[in-house]
Subunit: 327 residues, 4 copies
């Protein structure tokens, strides 16, 4: 039975821990600076609370799940890599490109597999979209349209340390664009505003953004982000090719539709990422266990994490310069 | 931790056993005449294989899950009731009304709670439909329309022992009608044909059926059943009231829509009950654990099982007589 | 240019007159007991007001459109037939079966073509449904489900002379059942209530009704009628066959969908028959002009009007007897 | 009765002429260099064929409809303005900004009303979208997303004289952006490719394009264009505001949905602009008659035509420079 050590006992950590149990693997250690959170999660899954060093030193631990705060990712990746553990790390590797590069080098030197937590690649609908593309359903891809809106903006204190909308939020969509375009983006143009919450502008960030990507051969991609959607988490993708269009839409909690004198009313999209991507998180963890067992290579690796960050930084640069930049 | 004994290690038994584990309860025993199936399921969940007597004799067992073949239900309900266990039993109690009556009496005498496995009441969309009705979304209910079609007919040998379409298949819809009409059906009219597979007629049954229900105050209900739907498991409900209509539709595996020169193509409904009602089975088991723990009364009891059977028998009689019958 | 005489200058008469003009034919005469209405409609389309006799005596008139009150239909059909005019008549021929039979005989004797105004056969979606069936899209038809609900009940004084729900309202659905089943209904069962307006019961009628049809070979059909739908005119059909299902739904005025914190809200169905079947009325009149010009035989004739009335009367009888009746 | 002279007897001219008749106005003259086309259209509507001079000299002509080729628009506008006629002109005024300016000046000098043929503003769904915005359904507008794809590319010879994708095709979407944003675009960024047909590149144009607009206060807009959509004419709009989202989608010929083993298949969007915007053309012509009669001011004037062209030219400049430009 695969044994894992998990860093981070917060909201997303609890999801991963439950999926570890549900997938028939064993959570051996929980590591978190918040001792109470670590103890509670460990108790629920029959794991032990430990510090990073002793957990990584246990040779019976096969793999680590890194779900702690962003500023600890790179360090933990390097330590786990040196300890020879397979690694599943939430995005991003780090907010600094230079730090990411060192991390990539450390991982390569250690030769351990790394799965980056771009969970949306494991969403059943988005994964089916990609399979349809690969099966030729719409022929050559020409244009990808990605809409990604959070239900409500994060608190300003989070915005301040988030790395900014492009690196914190749109990085998922930039990865999705790479997943679906079939070619590497070569040029990035960004425009953005602060329309939702002036405190976000005060924190030096934007809350509404449009990015346009262009590949070498001329394939195009539009990404639309907002920190607010009054109707819930809005996650939609459209792919146009020579033979037609593929769309993947939002998911709802129930199929109930009420028709009254007021109109025909359906359910809102599932509220936020924990609900919307519950199946994706399950599939992602199951894939990681396949990686740990040597049954699969990571579907999305640390190089993908680096590339998505590069594109986010290019978007920042484009926004500053008011022109398209190479990426 | 609640400890359960489960009878039946087949397809639906495996679903319940996994839900027991996922809900934080413990499967103590698995009982099945198929020793290999019992052993496999017991091993997967850390349970022991046992015979009915010894499992029911264990005072640490709080409750039983009866997922064995229909002809064993009534006997196991009575034995579990005498042993003082809380009971969750798949529908039907029995195919004979007289046998059901004795079973109801035994349960009453023992004073144990019984939850009948009318899983559809726990489907998120159908449950939301009922909540909307109760919240007055469409005012007084006037008409309910239930469509229920299996993807493909069962083998003739199953049909022969099934009790016939009304008691085997439509019984779920008859329970759903009671769940949504807000009044007891008082009159039943049935018409039916064998259009799908002549071997079903040879086995003395029908495969396509329409039933009309009428309550004392005149509320109406239509149920439409077929043993075949080329596009998958078709489970839809429509409720009309003075203020409007509520609909609950099929669920799909992905939201992908492909628009090409051939048309605009969406996913088919989830194929059959294991997929369609996965969430319902989870919610049903969680509710049963609440019942066992004394936190809730059964949302659907053995009397509901009896009443649904009565309606199915009335449908059979109406079909024989060619007229509406009291029910 | 085809010249027509129209009887009836009311709401539906105005629709037909406008379609006559739009289709490139000429309205020669308008006949109506309401002189003001006749004058207004005649003025709008350059026609003359006349009485029936002189209009029918004009040899330059090729055809008549009968859109006057129901009690005048049979008489006008017979007079127009004797005058050798092609006839387009709103349903029903008459409320009395015996009167209808005489009318059919008169039409046969005269040898003139008659198109009965079962407008729904000309609805683009329902017509496409039928073409799909005929093209084999779902194989052999097994079951037809028809939902037909008016937005709000007629005044009690209309109900009193209407002939009752089955002959006044469901007659359209009974014709539609024949249009789609591919076989003649052989058995009818009806149940009904007065749930919407007690004045309808006081007028001796029902306002909510379910009818079940069965053909000789066992094909089934359900029809669901109500005199009220808070969300607008509800006109939906579902056809099930061995290879799948065909559905034709309601039409909306706009495709606008509003997603807010309150839900995802789409437009209600078009409010009533004038809006919902505007295209059907246009296509029906164009077809009549083809009939007049000898380019087509009537797609729905006086015999279809008689047969629909027979089925409506069978429904009345079934309701009285509480059992299925032959039809 | 309003009397009109129409320039152009081609495809769109035939639509307008039929709508003139349907709206109760009279087509007095048809002018077209193609004598046969002019004669046919005139015959159908009881009009006379004439040359421009004599038609404009007739004082009984109230207004002109200009549906001739683009290179004749500016000249005809000026001549009709000098003759004091109300003017309805298909877009664009001209492909040259300088020529447009002169035309605007001539119209102002003459003081005649001009309605520019931005037909999409009259589409029932897009018009309802705008009314919803104005009614505050989504609060302050933040982002508009416009998808506009033709079913198939025009022939290269047309491309060569079309003025290019931005002035020929996207000009409609640029006007729509202005219609919905509630603020004037201040900045334009364009990127584009030739992915559909290499002959379009050979003709110096692109066939796939993305444009991003930004208003002074930071509202954003994305426009996505392609000269090809295998599934038909794709015309969709999405408006995001602080309180939610409004969407207006494609229209279909029938509501038929076929569910079979192959999937759930709905109709494709209406094929091209003549079908998709049939209602819009009708409403547009009716509005023009209101303008001619002095009952309304033009909802979209020659200044709107000039502004849309400015934005199209800005898109061209942005594409050339690879950066956002002021507009």
């Amino acid at each position: 039975m695969t044994r894992l050590c998990q860093f981070g006992a917060g909201r997303i950590g609890q999801i991963h821990a439950a999926n570890v149990a549900g997938a028939g693997a064993s959570l051996a250690y929980v590591v978190d600076v918040n001792a109470a959170a670590a103890a509670a999660l460990a108790a629920r899954h029959g794991a032990r609370v430990a510090d990073a060093d002793s957990a990584l030193a246990d040779p019976s631990v096969d793999a680590v799940v890194i779900a702690s705060s962003t500023d600890t990712h790179a360090d933990l990746i390097e330590r786990a890599a040196r300890a020879g553990k397979a690694i599943f790390c939430e995005k991003p590797v780090d907010l600094s490109m230079e730090r990411v590069e060192r991390c990539v080098a450390a991982v390569r030197a250690a030769g351990v597999p790394v799965l980056m937590g771009f969970n949306r690649r494991f969403d059943p609908s988005f994964a089916a979209l990609r399979r349809s593309i690969q099966a030729g359903a719409v022929g050559k891809v020409e244009l990808v349209q990605i809409t990604s809106r959070d239900p409500s903006p994060p608190p300003p204190e989070y915005v301040r340390v988030s790395g900014g909308l492009f690196r914190d939020m749109m990085i998922h969509d930039l990865d999705m664009a790479r997943f679906l375009l079939g070619e590497e983006p070569a040029e990035v143009f960004a425009t953005a505003s602060c329309l939702v919450d002036p405190r976000i502008a005060a924190a030096g960030d934007v809350d509404t953004a449009l990015v346009t990507l262009r590949t070498e051969s001329g394939r195009l991609c539009q990404i639309s982000n907002s920190r607010r959607a009054a109707y819930g988490y809005d996650q939609r993708i459209e792919v146009h090719g020579e033979l037609g269009m593929l769309q993947a839409g939002n998911r709802v909690g129930t199929t109930v539709v009420a028709s009254t004198a007021q109109g025909v009313v359906a359910d809102k999209p599932l509220h936020f990422f924990l609900e919307r991507y519950a199946e994706a998180y399950r599939a992602e963890l199951a894939h990681f266990l396949d990686v740990v067992a040597g049954r699969a290579a990571p579907l999305v690796g640390i190089e993908d994490g680096r590339r998505a960050l590069q594109l986010a930084e290019a978007a920042n640069e484009s926004l500053r310069l008011g022109r398209a930049v190479k990426a």
